[in-house]
């Protein structure tokens, strides 16, 4: 990471970044890194993560990003070199890869968290029942195994907890987007 930033600063060249889509999380992270470090990062949007990673492997962009399951097989095969994780803490699926913050870049994102929602006004007992079932699923060894194969961490949160997290993440992303001045041109 440091090498990259030094190179960008000394050469004064733009750093092309292969990102999934214009509205995606990787794009926000790339712009965030650019803003915090002061280097010129040019995100190149694609039609989805797989295409973005292909272009990155083919050497058509300098850096890029994606979710764990998108990049993991390529990292294992030595086609990609992991530079940093954009989460507040290290990702259990990539214990050796330091976070941006550890490398002196004061930026983090929440990744793309998948949650499960029910329509507003769902009775409490139904919500409790579902929460209970999902908790059991999240502790099921077979489910754990298949998620591990997809390089997806399991972070179980109950309904209230998740709502709080969701609100926080929503506000955080909202602030980021305003700060980074990302608009639909």
């Amino acid at each position: 990471m440091k090498e990259l930033i030094d190179w960008a600063k000394t050469s004064n060249q733009p750093v092309t970044a292969s990102v999934s889509t214009a509205t995606g999380n990787v794009n926000i992270t790339m712009r965030g890194i650019g803003k915090v470090t002061g280097i010129n990062i040019v995100p190149i949007p694609h039609q989805g993560g797989a295409q973005a990673i292909t272009d990155l492997i083919g050497g058509h962009a300098i850096v890029g990003g994606g979710s764990g399951n998108e990049v993991a097989p390529h990292i294992q095969a030595g086609r990609l070199r992991p530079l940093a994780v954009d989460l507040p803490e290290r990702d259990p699926a990539f214990p050796d890869v330091p976070t941006l913050k550890e490398q002196g870049i004061n930026f983090y994102s929440w990744g793309s968290v998948k949650g499960i929602a029910a329509p507003a006004g769902t009775p409490k007992e139904v919500v409790d029942y579902l929460a209970d079932v999902l908790k059991k699923v999240s502790e099921d060894p077979e489910f754990k195994e298949s998620m591990k194969n997809l390089h997806q961490p399991i972070l179980y949160m109950g309904p209230e907890e998740f709502q709080k997290f969701f609100k926080e993440a929503y506000d955080y992303f909202g602030k980021l987007i305003k700060d980074l001045n990302i608009t639909l041109q």
Binding site: G59, N149, L150
Partner: protein
Amino acid sequence: MGIFEGLFNGFSIALQGYNLLFAFIGCLLGTAIGVLPGLGPAATISLLLPVVYKMSSPATSIIFLAGIYYGSMYGGSTTSILLNLPGEAASVVTAIDGYKMALKGRAGAALGIAAIGSFIAGTIGVIGLSIVAPPLAEFALRFGPPEYFALTLVGLLLAVFLSGSSIVKGLIALLIGLLLASVGLDPITGKVRFTGGIIGLQGGFDFVTLAMGVFGIGEILYSLEQNIKGEIVTTKIGKVFPTIKDFIEAKWAIIRGSLIGFFVGILPGGGAVIASLASYAVEKRCSKKAEEFGHGAICGVAGPESANNAASSASFIPLLTLGIPGNASIAMIFAALMIQGVTPGPFLVKEHADVFWGVIASMYIGNLMLLALNLPLVGLWVQLLKVPFGILAPAVVLFTCVGVYSIANDTFNIYALLFFGLLGYFMRKLDFEPGPLPLAFVLAPIIENSLRQSLLMSGGSMAIFFTRPIAATHYLCARQLPV
């Protein structure tokens, strides 16, 4: 594991009764949906993904889904030839000469040569897939946005070049296709554009709807005007199988089509479409009887039909070695692998050798099955021609309406279908060749994306399109075109 050891292992998996059965069902289903206009392989495979959950092994499920995919390439030519109604983009060029052959009473020969060409090309494609998969996939990686831009631009110029009489009219059709494709979400900024506030347009126009309208409905409207009591093809059907003479004439077209299809098919995105286009253009140039093209040249059917089959086998290369799906149908198979707990990627060949070699072996067997399925059935498809226009036309309209409705369960597509039908009618009436329009529509997103991505990469400098060797070679090839 070497190739022979791998293949031996693969055949021992593919020849298990259960796997043979699913390969057969897949091929049969694939042929059927290829014949039926409106329902393509991507839609069918996505509908069958839930079935995959219940299958015991990943090899079986991929053998099944792959059968549907390459089987549809066999079936796709049928409606192109008999009704001038390509069910998918890869069969658009087949309609040019195939339909003319049918009009001359040689529908059987056209269908026969398409099936035989498909078999030879499919087999060549699978042999190539088993031998050269890893090194070739590495090469495909070197195609970045500037190379894609060059490739698709050349593809579009080819489309105009082979559109028939008038190059100006071909260019107009091409521009209409590009404009229609720009409706919907802007791929770079994510903003909604040119929808006029209509929610149904936010995702852009659907390709199947456009193709069905411009070709199918447009053709039917036009035929109505021509001869209300007539039949689509009034001459007698003719011999069902191609003659030895036909075969000798078409053999090099089949071989060239297979090779073109194989190499183009390795590239992610639009493989079979560009392959069939390129093959048609090459045949037209190579032929001693170039004047026959557009009027029922057998090579104009044999080449492209071989190319799209070889391309469909080759498109498994980036999937099975890099984990990159090149088109919508392969993306569905990618999803099926994930469901079965197999992550497609560089490790698949080693860690899931049974899947890799089992699927490849099943493709050898599947191609044989398809030949056996298609040649005898050619006679059955030819019977379609005997149905009076008064019955066939309303039935086709009904099927296309149901087909486009089923794409998104949205009645908006039916209105769009009518709109495109009128467009197709007026184009025919004004003597426009409709071919370039849907092709431009398919290639437009790739062109736009790759152009804008390239300019982002280069910081706005156009030099990027000419300084990279692969891209520059494309422009040199394009200069050989008489456009």
